[in-house]
């Protein structure tokens, strides 16, 4: 007992409170000795859900195939985060359903006509004809690209 320094504190922890939250768990390991000075500064760890899911219930993930949007940073095989709750603005990148397929493009209104604009010079803009069945499905908020 004699080698316990006077500043050492021994904390008795009620088993029920251990693991109750992150702080309690850390404290649980400090049986004796100087408590971590970081204890008072613990913040919640970073969480990707928080970043990507601004409106969780309205957010969907979809997978890209094709290269028409590479200049916007959207590549074949990428995963897009699509928020259906957002309203499109001029030049928003949108997931649309047109003539039987889902596509991702920028949408612009030029002289009262709507265009689907690819972000790759090799592709041409598509004018939306009046008879074509265009539906907005959601607004793209992030592209997730895997490097290795």
């Amino acid at each position: 007992m004699s080698n316990i320094k006077p500043e050492t504190t021994i904390k008795f922890i009620n088993p029920a409170t251990v693991n109750a939250d992150y702080t309690a768990k850390l404290e649980g390991f400090v049986k004796a000795g100087f408590p971590s000075p970081a204890n008072d500064y613990i913040e919640k760890e970073l969480n990707f859900r928080e970043l990507f899911l601004r409106n969780e219930s309205a957010t969907f993930f979809v997978e890209v195939s094709g290269s028409s949007m590479i200049d916007a940073g959207i590549y074949d095989g990428d995963i897009l985060v699509v928020d259906k709750s957002l309203n499109p603005c001029h030049n928003s990148i949108l997931v649309c359903y047109i003539d039987g397929e889902f596509t991702v493009k920028r949408v612009q209104k030029i002289d009262s006509a709507l265009y689907l604009i690819p972000d790759n010079k090799k592709f041409k803009p598509i004018k939306i004809e009046e008879h074509s069945d265009l539906r907005l499905w959601g607004v793209v908020t992030f592209a997730i690209h895997k490097f290795r």
């Binding site: 309205a58 195939s65 094709g66 290269s67 028409s68 709750s85 359903y97 889902f102």
Partner: protein, 416 residues
Amino acid sequence: MIALVDGNNFYVSCEKVFNPALDGKPVVVLSNNDGCVISRSNEAKALGIKMGEPAFKRKEFMEQNNVTVFSSNYTLYGDLSNRMMKTLQNFSPNVEVYSIDEAFVSLEGITANTEDYAHKIKATIHKHIGIPVGVGVAETKTLSKIANKIAKKNNGVCVIDSETKKEWALRNTLIADVWGVGRQYAKKLNSIGIITAYDFTKLDSAWIRKNMSVVGLRTKEELLGTPCIAMEMNLQPKKNIATTRAFGKKLSDVNIISEAVSTHAVRCAEKLRRQKSRAQYITIFIHTDPFSQTEKYVYKSKTLTLAIASNNNSDLVKYAIHGLKELFEPKLLYKKVGVIVSGISDEMQVQGSLFEGMNDKKRDTVSIITDQLNFRFGKDVVKLAVQGNNPDWKLRQEKLSPHYTTRWNELLKVKA
């Protein structure tokens, strides 16, 4: 005021979210094992396809009429349902999830114009999730159900907020269609000349109490606008849990049927653990094909009492197989087997038995870890050997859509 929000043709609508080309076309979703029609688009209804019709009876008809058919994808429907319920919570702190596709939303304390608010709920669910809903608003739950039915026939919103509207709604609703009035009571009421909900509200309370108990009286009060059925926020643990499936094809081999029974028992154990309870009784039932022209219909069931209430995989499987062996008759062609657990109590309050060890902590830990692995890596990645691998009893899901929202390798593809 209480709003009842209800998804239109919910399962079909879920499929349409990822398949907009189906808009305006006849679409149906089939029950487990592709058995019966359980959801229909309006176009399928117009073709005369009925709810609950066995799919095989309508196969040719559906092919001829280009009806798109889906196996039920409950993973997808459950996910979209959760999204719908969470979105509703933005409109009120008081949301009671009543079923996979409907919820009561209390509008108490909401100062906005009710009609506008109801339209906003409808528009938001449609935009955020892609599901069309109907919204019925009234003073009581029973009336909001009626308002919802009227909403669906009109523009999707109906608010009953005056005596005139209420009387009109009651006069135009059959008593048989009122929430809480069963078929037997409806028949009885019809026989004494009570046809509409309005007729019922004019009926003598003493008569109702005598013939339909206090439940009938409560329905009358609710129809008159006095709330008697409170909002229930906390889901009560279920009183019994069943897992039952028809086989992909008819079976007579007891070993293969044992695999099915074991897997159903494990499913029940999982459901028990999820709601933190244990079961005291287990019922096993088995039957042959009720639609068969050539074989006679045999239905048998057996209920066993567990020595100690349990939610452990191997306990439930042990009893389930024991029960099956007692029921099983060779040479019959079985179509369906099911496991029901009941006598459900809280996990923490279990009576011990003299002969079985109480603290089987180790086995409980095994169950918990099995749950975690299966949740992370997919259903039945870890399982008991008796659950087997024979495909014959597995669910038939020939027209299953992708699990768009729950599996990375089944995401919706978009063209760039």
